[in-house]
């Protein structure tokens, strides 16, 4: 395992050839999706057949698929193959209606494990590594998705699961874990657990963190790398596409290569649904090319990103996605201003006096929407004026960024509620929510 690539032919395939592969796979996927009660009538109406597909541009003829479609067809309405060929399902929580269900055939699972193994290889992990997974092993794809991929890579895999930081600390110490898979907020919490045991996380055997499933800024990544004395790579996946293994940063740490042998990538204006000019911000829309139980066409991810221009020095030809600039779903409209939590996070990370946790609360006071931002202090001080000035300065910089004045409240450790899942960043208490 000394090569630079997991699959050199695919990863470095010239663009023209890669597009040819995409067209072949799109044809094949259409053929499979003819078996779907959901897609078959749509294809018929639009005249979409495998033979009618000549180039990647033909993707524009396809209908969009949304999360609402997944909910409306819950649980098995989009499947393209009989259920007896389906071997697993994953499901997202149904906090706003039906949960969504994604079906996998054995081939789907194999391709998924291979794609995520390729991603791990891409950031320098090898079969000599010991990979510990801090994701829950349930319906969340971050558990099993990482497990099977790490095993495919040939690494010793520790399925420690979510929560119980003390146990994670013990496992890392006892097993000599070299790589962790975790959400960014857990990376900082686990580091704190080490410090509580009197161990500097930089002295552990961990050299790589795979972080994802939660929006985070470049500053937060840098902080994670600093406290761990390790490299942290941004990993992108979503259960609708399979799970982790859709895109990952290479060792250049400049954008995530999205595996285009598996997906057709479009960046569209979320309102007009037309392609944005090259390199501009828009909604990521994906079509699966290598799945059979439940292929999805032009799936609206709601993630806002852009394609980085130019070639990557790593030699991979698959396009790079910029760090996500929030989700169209996460967007808050406060006093008529569109605000993404990541804008606030970016500002808070500029202050070394602050730790990484924060909570945005929006509530109606009188006739007005008011925003309160609770930010966790990193350390105590005897200097009261410093705290007051800090509050003022944070408020000022936030106002410059989001164009309204939030109330900034400094809090101590453990005040901001935590759950073992994704960190809660926004608490919208307005009457209309």
């Amino acid at each position: 395992m000394n090569g630079k690539y997991w699959n050199e032919e695919i990863e470095t395939m010239p663009r023209k050839q890669l597009e040819k592969l995409q067209v072949e796979r799109l044809k094949k996927t259409v053929e499979i999706a003819m078996g779907s009660e959901f897609y078959a009538p749509k294809f018929k109406e639009l005249g979409i057949t495998p033979e009618s597909i000549k180039s990647v541009e033909d993707i524009k003829r396809f209908p969009f698929t949304t999360k609402n479609d997944l909910r409306a067809t819950y649980p098995f309405g989009i499947k393209s193959i009989p259920l007896d060929k389906v071997v697993r399902l994953h499901s997202s929580s149904g906090t706003t209606g039906n949960p969504t269900v994604i079906l996998h055939s054995q081939k789907d699972l194999d391709e998924w494990a291979d794609a995520m193994a390729r991603s791990m290889y891409c950031i320098g992990l090898r079969n000599t590594d010991i990979i510990q997974n801090t994701s829950g092993y349930g319906m969340f794809t971050g558990g099993l998705g990482i497990q099977y991929a790490a095993e495919r890579l040939g690494a010793l895999t520790v399925p420690a699961g979510a929560g119980n930081s003390k146990r994670h600390v013990k496992f890392i110490t006892d097993f000599g874990t070299t790589a962790l898979h975790c959400i960014p907020s857990y990376a900082t919490r686990l580091a704190a657990a080490f410090e509580e045991e009197g161990i500097d996380p930089r002295t552990t055997t961990v050299h790589t963190l795979i972080i994802g499933a939660e929006p985070h800024s470049e500053a937060q990544r840098k902080r994670i790398e600093e406290i761990w004395g390790a490299k942290a790579y941004n990993n992108f996946g979503m259960s609708e596409m399979c799970g982790p293994g859709v895109a990952i940063e290479c060792q250049e740490q400049n954008g995530m290569h999205i595996w285009e042998d598996n997906y057709i990538v479009e960046i569209l204006d979320p309102v007009t649904l037309e392609p944005v000019p090259e390199g501009e911000l828009g909604e990521l829309v994906l079509t699966t090319l290598n799945r059979e139980a439940m292929p999805l066409f032009r799936y609206r991810t709601r993630d806002l990103t852009r394609i980085l221009p130019g070639d990557c020095p790593c030699g991979r030809t698959h396009v790079r996605l910029a760090r996500f600039q929030g989700r169209s779903d996460d967007m808050m409209i406060v006093k008529g201003v569109n605000i993404y939590p990541i804008q606030i996070e970016k500002i808070l990370m500029q202050f070394p006096e602050l730790a990484s946790d924060y909570l945005i609360t929006i509530e109606t006071i009188g006739d007005n929407d008011e925003m309160t931002i609770e930010a966790e202090l990193a350390q105590a001080t005897d200097d009261f004026a410093m705290l007051q000035n800090l509050t003022k300065e944070i408020t000022r910089r936030l106002k410059d960024e989001i164009l309204l004045t939030p109330r900034v409240k400094l809090v101590g450790k453990g005040v901001i509620p935590q759950s073992d899942g994704k960190a809660k960043r926004v608490n919208d208490l307005r009457h209309n929510h």
């Binding site: 202090l377 005897d382 004026a385």
Partner: protein
């Protein structure tokens, strides 16, 4: 330098926060000699001089409080207002400004805990003015 250690704890205005700190100290038989609170409606800083600063800081830190240890001047004077005034006058005359101050009585004397804007300078002025500085007791 002739200084002593002070503990500062960040306090958000939360029910039970102060009790939690006091109970922790009580359970370890750490005695509080002086305490001062600076606050707004949202948070405060509790500054403490205790019988064992190092132990108190470690204990509170382990309990999840944000704790800071820093150096302050402890000037011992006679327990009357005139002596208090003389000490402050001496520092002021020497060009020192004071960020905050609190006091407590110990062994029939008055102890002034002072955080000057410039610690080194204030220590020098206090020494040259013949004030009694307490050093490093815990």
């Amino acid at each position: 330098m002739k200084t002593i250690k002070q503990i500062s704890i960040f306090l958000e205005n939360q029910r039970g926060k102060l009790s939690d700190i006091l109970t922790a100290l009580k359970d370890q038989n750490i005695e509080i000699q002086a305490a001062s609170v600076a606050d707004t409606t949202e948070y405060g800083i509790l500054r403490l001089i205790t019988s064992n600063q190092k132990k108190a800081a470690e204990l509170l830190s382990a309990k999840g409080h944000l704790v800071n240890l820093n150096e302050v001047l402890a000037i011992q004077v006679e327990a009357d207002t005139a002596s208090f005034a003389d000490a402050i006058d001496a520092l002021t005359a020497g060009g020192c400004s004071i960020s905050y101050l609190y006091t407590f009585h110990k062994d029939g004397k008055l102890v002034l805990i002072i955080r000057p804007a410039n610690l080194e300078k204030a220590e020098k002025v206090a020494t040259e003015s013949g004030l009694t500085l307490i050093q490093g007791w815990e």
